[in-house]
Symmetry: C2
Subunit: 209 residues, 2 copies
DNA sequence: GTATGTTTCAAACAGTTGTTTGGAATTGAT
DNA sequence: ATCAATTCCAAACAACTGTTTGAAACATAC
């Protein structure tokens, strides 16, 4: 039991890191099992298939994230409309994100990269899995924005939330590379947390525009 | 000569579409050559390797795009600082983008998708190729923003441009899927041009924040 | 200690990948 | 029409992919 769990989570740890780095198709099971120091066949034994392993990687992240986000939303849902400023709503999204970094190293960056790859799939198998299983939390978030900004139409909110999602996925997912460029060019080293803080006024202004 | 050119461009046409749809690793040369109705070996004959084919796909897009963008920038570079509003700068970026759609069907979406995939590569081979060869145009764009908004620090501008880039790549690249969701949910069908128009105030407000 | 169920492991499986090869077909110039 | 160069093409190459297999190792209960 304990040995098993260690094998399973060692596979998940190696897989989520490699998937984020290289992508799903570019990462072979042999690369994963070598890094995790487990036998090749143990992936199929514990996760049936590679596709299921990918879903398991997402599940572990999204369960942590949506649980915390759901708590944030519950307190917001008891506020009146004029108390729902964009900055407050964005913070409800960002706090659960920041707490991910407490669990594993570089977790925010990895998580955002994985989300980006999930959305990049055109046949949308993975994107649909994610939205079907965890989309209801985002719907609650949309409703809150609608309540706070009733002058915006519902599809304006829909699109602006996706502009925001794009900014976050792109800059936080690629933050390692971008921070290297930033440091080389202006010699200022930002942590992921600093990048998020820098991003907040940009996003808030856009949402309210 | 004319037969050759037709083979080369047929390969490029099929490749750019498939790369955008599925990704580089997920697209085999056999899939490309089948759709292009050419022989498998002709890819290696005309483009040496798959990696070079990928670069050729980017080159064809970026040459068109940077040529038009460079013209836009030249006129902007003759304006005074107080004439450089964010909306005007963004339009200089968007006009060359829109004109891509004149050349090939759905070109904007394909181009954005390809850019997204290029940035997703962590080892950064492709991203470096793109920035080395076409980065100087973006540097000129950054300088213009600096001139128009001198109260922003240079790394604030750097990061905000990347927030913007993220929004554009994410929503325009995934616009097919997102527009489907949008239509299903609120029965409003937007073209890519409409999505860009919707995005402009969001981005402008963020840049000025 | 024996029996039962779970987990690991080396080896092999069939299928796909990018690339190479040598000869056939086509092209353009004299 | 002849020659040379270019382009095409069917076939094969070695390398790698995800998955399966059957036996070994292990743990747990009686």
């Amino acid at each position: 039991m304990t040995k098993t769990e260690s094998t399973k989570s060692r596979i998940l740890d190696a897989a989520e890191q490699l998937f984020a780095e290289r992508g799903f198709a570019e990462t072979s099971l042999r690369t994963i099992t070598t890094r995790a120091r487990v036998n090749l066949a143990s992936v199929n034994y514990h996760f049936c298939s590679k596709k299921s392993l990918i879903q398991a990687v997402f599940d572990r992240f999204l369960q942590d994230f949506t649980k915390e986000l759901s708590l944030e939303l519950m307190t917001l849902e008891q506020l009146s409309a004029d108390q729902l400023e964009a900055e407050k709503l964005l913070n409800a999204l960002i706090r659960p994100l920041l707490s991910l970094n407490g669990r594993r190293n570089n977790a925010i960056s990895i998580f955002m990269r994985l989300l980006g790859r999930a959305y990049a799939e055109t046949q949308g198998h993975l994107r649909r899995y994610v939205t079907d299983k965890y989309g209801h939390v985002l719907v609650r978030f949309t409703h809150l924005f609608q309540k706070g900004y009733p002058n915006l139409t519902i599809d304006q909110i829909f699109w602006r939330l996706h502009y925001m999602l794009g900014s976050m996925i792109f800059t936080l997912g690629g933050s390692d590379a971008l921070r290297q460029i930033s440091q080389a060019d202006f010699n200022r080293d930002l942590g992921v947390e600093d990048v998020i803080k820098e991003m907040l006024p940009f996003l808030a202004a856009g949402m309210k525009a």
